[in-house]
């Protein structure tokens, strides 16, 4: 850490960590409703409300993580302090306040009612204000720089794209097809566009610092990866336009472009492994290293393999809107974005706290526990999804009868989710006690 204002990142990481914990709690509640038919909370916290909270917390903690990561990264890349720490704080509290209001609102039945974008319009406007403050602050910081590195340029591009896409999710449209058409401009162009860019830039930074490889090499690969992500991903949005009332040429465009999406993700794995192999310095922060390599691998499995598995129209026709999608959603969000943020947190935290060496035992346990149980959860949902696809879609059995046949796998999923929750708890404890002498293991 070179600049005092990089410490701003810490507060963002604290919030990200706490909200991550809360997300897991709401996941357990939501999952229980699949396992037991009787739902004691049906009138207080029905499935739709608990799901809305679960997925909103996910997005919000990842955004806090990205923002924290950006505040940590930019001073070092731009070689200057943050333009305005005061704005950075204001933006943090404003975002947190909007988040709390949104969640309290969902429980009270205040919703805009599109998945992931349930925030009532007035809160969405607040989120836009937060984004503008953030982008302004980052942009002004970068303007102070003498040398524009590729990493910060790509990062800024990704953040601007992230903010711009959100605008397409604000307006009410009378036609459900049009509404969903642009809903995907937010959801798909986020996870297979803007967020990939942000992730690419942050990962490039971490690998550069961690392994000491050549900057020129890292930046060249960053261009290639991000370029291919956007080339395949932008038109790849067509894999969501097969069945929603859009013209059928999307079956071709979506199928072909999205089938290529795993290629850049595979490049990221190769790139990461090569950087680590050709490292110029000894890597003492094993935790950051594990999360970085783990992220590359799980990103590829969750987004690349599990995404590819149902992206062709011939297959998607049968699996669309089943638990197959849920399996992929969990795997990809965790592998790509939860793990990226944990990588950045484990990279930055010791430096913010000024630790040269620290006990990494609990952190390692958290790493293996979370990864193992996430894979179990995904496999359980995948089996449930295949059962659903086969019985309901291929054989024509009715929805609820099919759900009965999936029960066992919902149970396996839910028990594994408890395992994951224990891993997450280890991480949270580790986050708050790292570097302290007496670490409760």
């Amino acid at each position: 850490m070179k600049y005092e204002s990089q410490k701003i990142a810490y507060k963002y990481f604290v919030l990200a960590t706490l909200l991550f914990g809360l997300q897991v709690v709401f996941g357990l509640i939501t999952g229980a409703k699949y396992v037991w038919d009787f739902d004691p909370l049906i009138n207080i916290l029905p499935f739709n409300t608990s799901r809305a909270i679960h997925i909103n917390l996910l997005v919000v903690w990842l955004l806090f993580g990205f923002m924290g990561g950006t505040y940590y990264l930019v001073p070092e890349e731009a070689d200057t302090e943050i333009y305005s720490p005061w704005l950075a704080n204001l933006q943090l509290y404003l975002f947190a306040a909007i988040g709390v209001t949104a969640i309290a609102g969902y429980i009270a039945g205040w919703s805009w009612g599109m998945p992931f974008l349930e925030q009532p319009t007035i809160l969405k406007i607040g989120i836009v204000v937060v984004a503008l403050i953030f982008l302004f602050n980052i942009f002004m910081t970068m303007m102070k720089t003498k040398k524009w590195t590729v990493i910060q340029g790509v990062l800024l591009g990704g953040l601007v794209m992230l903010a711009v896409m959100f605008l397409f999710g604000i307006f009410f449209m009378k036609n459900l097809t049009t509404q969903y058409y642009f809903w995907w401009w937010v959801i798909h162009l986020w996870v297979e566009g803007a967020w990939e860019i942000v992730t690419g830039a942050i990962m490039a930074f971490v690998l550069l610092k961690l392994t000491g490889v050549d900057r020129a090499l890292v930046e060249k690969w960053l261009y290639i990866e991000v370029g291919l992500v956007l080339f395949t991903g932008i038109a790849g949005i067509g894999h969501h336009y097969y069945w929603i009332g859009t013209p059928n040429y999307w079956l071709w465009v979506g199928g072909i472009f999205s089938a290529l999406e795993p290629v850049p993700i595979l490049f990221m794995v190769i790139d990461t492994l090569r950087d680590v192999k050709e490292r110029k310095v000894e890597i003492t922060n094993r935790l950051a290293l594990y999360w970085a390599v783990g992220c590359a691998v799980m990103h590829f499995l969750g987004a690349g393999v599990w995404g590819f598995a149902h992206t062709l129209p011939q297959i998607n026709q049968w699996t669309h809107g089943t638990q197959v999608t849920a399996a992929h959603g969990h795997f990809a969000f965790f592998g790509a974005y939860a793990m990226l943020n944990l990588t950045m947190i484990y990279f930055a935290l010791p430096q913010i706290k000024g630790l040269k060496v620290f006990n990494q035992r609990l952190g390692m346990k958290a790493f293996w526990t979370m990864n193992f149980f996430m894979i179990m959860m995904v496999l359980a949902l995948s089996v449930a999804g295949v059962i659903q696809t086969y019985f309901q879609r291929v054989l024509g059995m009715d929805y609820l009868t099919t759900q009965g046949f999936m029960k066992l796998w919902f149970a396996v999923f839910w028990v594994s989710a408890w395992g994951f929750a224990i891993g997450a708890l280890m991480y949270i404890v580790n986050f708050f006690t790292i570097g302290k002498k007496q670490v409760a293991v």
Binding site: K33, D37, D39, I42, P46, F47, N48, T49, R51, A52, S111, W112, G113, P115, E118, F172, K174, N175, L176, T177, T178, Y180, Y181, W183, A216, W221, Y223, I224, G227, L228, L230, F231, T232, G233, I234, A235, Y241, W243, I244, G245, T246, P247, N248, Y249, W250, L251, V253, F257, W318, H320, G321, Q323, T325, A326, R393, V394, G396, D398, L400, Q403
Partner: protein, 225 residues
């Protein structure tokens, strides 16, 4: 490869893909009105869409295959349910469909229900490239033609409480062989006024069914032996 070449991949790859998306978006937006018969998208359908959003139905149900996976997809629900059933169901889901997994009573107002039905009926007509697909099993046995009464049985949601051939609910008796224990008149009476046979019956009355539909239904049931 040089860094300049890598940058060219980045710039041109992005531009090319973005141009494709924008051009096809322009074209799609011009085709969507026709594919969704937007001429029938009146103010009531739009209000119904807002009711749908306000109650956040979409985080339990998928529609067009998108949303929560906890409850049936509603894209084509109006193809197999009729408006009368829908009205009774949305008014009190638990009474009309005592299913194992429950939909909460959302205390919808009558007007909201009317708007929702208009919305779901409009959605039902969207050209989804034949999604959801016809089950392969159904395609394979395409020789067997559905009896008119079977369609009524489905539209009225009888299977919420009754099962035939092992498929359906268990709140009411199994109807697989109902024709061998009840005659036509008896079944007709049960449909018109379930309380005539059991004063405490929880089966809803179907007295309001059109004559033709009830005849078809009775034909179908009394044929189950």
């Amino acid at each position: 490869m040089t860094k300049a070449q890598a940058k060219a991949i980045f710039v041109w790859g992005t531009v090319l893909s973005a141009v494709i998306l924008l051009a096809l978006t322009y074209n799609s937006l011009s085709q969507i009105p026709q594919r969704t018969h937007a001429d029938r998208l009146d103010a009531q359908v739009a209000t119904g869409k807002w009711v749908w959003q306000k109650h956040n139905c979409n985080d339990c149900h998928t529609i067009l295959g998108i949303g929560g996976y906890y409850a049936p997809d509603l894209t084509k629900v109006m193809s197999y349910r009729d408006a009368d059933w829908m009205r009774r169901f949305l008014n009190d889901p638990g009474a009309v469909w005592p299913a194992s997994r429950k939909m909460p009573n959302l205390h919808l107002k009558d007007q909201e229900i009317t708007d929702l039905i208009a919305f779901l009926s409009w959605v039902n007509g969207i050209d989804t490239n034949n999604w959801p697909p016809k089950p392969m099993a159904a395609t394979a046995s395409a020789g067997t033609v559905e009896k008119p009464g079977e369609a009524v049985y489905r539209a009225q949601g009888c299977s919420a409480c009754h099962s035939i051939g092992g498929v359906g609910g268990h709140v009411g008796p199994d109807l697989t062989k109902v024709g061998s224990r009840r005659d036509r008149e008896w079944i007709e009476e049960q449909l018109k006024d379930p309380k005539s046979h059991n004063p405490n019956s929880i089966m809803p009355s179907f007295a309001k069914l059109p004559e033709k539909d009830r005849e078809d239904l009775v034909d179908y049931l009394s044929g189950l032996r």
